[in-house]
Subunit: 421 residues, 2 copies
């Protein structure tokens, strides 16, 4: 007998038909003799509907009162939005009972799953397992409303968008589960986006470190926080689809600690992200501490700087500094830099949001040489200019003009022969 | 400074525009210097949407499993359906903050409002006021999700359909409020249904006992349980509309202990109910205990018997027994009687669901004579046959053919001169 946490996202519980399908999948795991906890998201569309209500009322400015006067509303946002998962967990418990499976729903405050007070983006502090273990010993499936907990003020908190993956992994750790199965609308982790490279292959296994890089670099299947948590607790995650045909093989991808077969691969995947924007500071005085000043300006404005490169300018004693920020932070970043122009000391700014970050990831890069060379040759052969480069032990990222995104992804996928197993 | 509980039903919070309107009404009470708790229902249509989901999944019969094998689902029904009020309470709290009013939402389990374990039709056992009083002392409006509590098993319970009125009154009692204002889609209690009698008048005041009778006899404005609770705790209820135009007078109707002006009125209102059905047992053996046998058959079948009359038949030693039951219980009642036919001993059954119960109610009837005479003369003049009669100290009800409903209501309204103040 194993103890398994199964997690189903919004598209997997989008309507009653799909909730029935999920109930069948859970019933099958129970029939296999396993103890099962299920974590569910809101029915897809529901969270957006509720957030729409909140945003509309939040925008009201009545009798000269403004947002700051009325105070933040994240506590109420949490009370409202968490109702989506509450509904799904109850519905799935009913569907299970009607399939002869003992089950009950659990809300965050009932477990309790305790979080800090950062409403709308809370972090999990602890998960009690006493009551849930009692339910397991009665043979009951636990259907848990994902994404939510209870904060120290005794109110509902939510973990932020995508927090259901994180609740599922955290719950699996707390319950000492053998595995966390994340059901989604794709059947595993691919060598790259199959919409761009039809030959992309599903990986049977991938190392935590690789998955973490891929998730950070743009692959959207798993949340970064959930992979970190699984890695730190050595909890295997299986990514698989909830839309498999009856009786069809559905092995998914196992995310786990690296093993020998994984280490033989040089590159495991190609990721890309269109969420980047590039800023170049022109003619920055080339004195010590200037880059630090720029970084401080960005962090004071709450903007995260990602890739960064300094280039010598032709003029004397000055350099250009190029770096990337999140696309939605671009305006904020430029405003902050303009305001600090005389303090930092530079001549001008250029910015470009028409860029893409393309990355190759693989733990095999640690022990193989020539990876960078293969990558840059493949890009150069297609006439793709690289603007910025960033590397780590197991990845190389390049910033390129967005027009070349698909071409670059295909070139790299083929250069590292990812289409062959 | 007064402490007021304001209650808003589903139509009053049907959409964002109406929630804003409710926020304005609450803000006005706060500006008057009052401490305010607000009890809200789900946005209208929301409860039906959620119940639809539950019913669809509850109807599943998979792999030979049936409803009894999977067990009852009322606990999950409560977890699901209570989310409607949860959303409204959060939204109203946001709308209040954006109007410069300090507010926070409260769920049943947060107060806590404790109930028994009868999921989906729970009864309130206690309401703690400690935490809410703390919030009042911080100047915060309490926005309470109606209709819900927490049961002894630590799960969400609901009070059954219409339970929001009851939560509001119970909360007002627990918080020692000066008054409970129930906002609805009509502007008060009327002498009768204005759709039938355009001259019907709004009453400024009505006694608890009269309101209780009117609510029991078919007036749908207030829930019977909420009136009982208010009467037992001497808590005045004001019924008024949430749709009044800005600045318009909106006095509503005050439901409170009787006073002298009320006692001068002979009849306060005319109520009618189309939810009745009539059963006649033909040729029932006229021996002692026969009526008791019939009543036991009905109570064993969980059918409530309302009006009852025995008439002597022409044949020897036999009588006809006529009584009324709820229209939706008719089939159940007839089946139970047929099954007990030989045991009870009767010749046949007649049933008729095409009947209406019309009632006059007034505490003045205690001290005035001739009320029944006026009533029956008014009905006889229009040729309306009375099938069954039931009386209490402050009401007379008659069962008539449903075709005559409006005619009878108009005749009685006019006979007791209810159109003049």
């Amino acid at each position: 007998m194993a103890r398994i946490v199964m997690k189903f996202g919004g598209t997997s519980v989008a309507n009653l038909e799909r909730i029935r399908r999920v109930a069948d999948l859970v019933a099958a795991e129970v029939a296999n003799g396993n103890e099962v906890a299920v974590v569910v998201s809101a029915m897809s569309g529901e969270t957006n509907r509720l957030v729409g209500f909140v945003d509309a009322l939040d925008a009201d400015r009545v009798n000269g009162h403004n947002q700051s006067m009325g105070g933040p509303i994240e506590d109420e946002y949490d009370a409202i939005v968490s109702s989506g998962e509450q509904v799904t967990s109850g519905l799935l418990a009913i569907a299970l009972r009607r399939r002869g499976v003992k089950a009950r729903s659990w809300l965050g405050w009932q477990i309790p799953l305790r979080t800090d007070m950062a409403h709308s983006s809370a972090r999990i502090e602890s998960i009690e397992d006493t009551k849930m273990n009692e339910a397991f010993s009665e043979g009951k499936v636990a259907v848990v409303a994902g994404f939510q907990g209870i904060s120290d003020d005794g109110r509902i908190s939510t973990l932020g968008r995508g927090g259901s993956d994180t609740s599922a992994v955290a719950l699996a750790v707390a319950l000492k589960a053998d595995r966390c199965d994340i059901y989604t609308d794709v059947d595993g982790i691919y060598t790259t986006d199959p919409r761009i490279v039809p030959e992309a292959r599903r990986l049977n296994r991938i190392a935590f470190e690789e998955m973490l890089e891929l998730a950070s670099l743009g692959a959207k299947v798993l949340q970064v926080r959930s992979v970190e948590l699984a890695m730190n607790n050595n909890l295997p995650i299986r990514v698989l689809t909830s839309f498999a045909k009856d009786g069809a093989d559905n092995p998914g991808t196992l995310v786990c600690h690296e093993d020998e077969t994984m280490e033989e691969r040089i590159v495991s995947g190609v990721a890309y992200s269109r969420d980047e924007a590039q800023i170049t500071i022109l003619q920055l005085e080339d004195t010590p501490g200037m880059v630090a000043k720029v970084c401080k300006t960005m962090s004071d404005a709450n903007v995260i700087v990602d890739m960064i490169v300094q280039s010598i300018s032709r003029s004397d004693n000055a350099a250009n500094l190029t770096f990337t920020v999140g696309k939605r932070d671009l305006e904020k970043a430029v405003t902050a830099l303009e305001a600090a122009k005389s303090d930092i000391g530079f001549e001008g700014l250029k910015s470009d949001s028409n860029v893409t970050k393309v990355s190759i990831v693989g733990i095999g890069m640690r022990s193989h040489t020539g990876v960078a060379q293969t990558m840059f040759e493949a890009l150069a052969e297609r006439g793709i200019n690289v603007e910025v480069i960033a590397t780590s032990e197991i990845k190389i990222s390049v910033l390129i003009n967005a027009e070349y995104t698909e071409l670059a992804v295909r070139a790299l996928h083929s250069a590292f022969e990812l289409e062959v197993g």
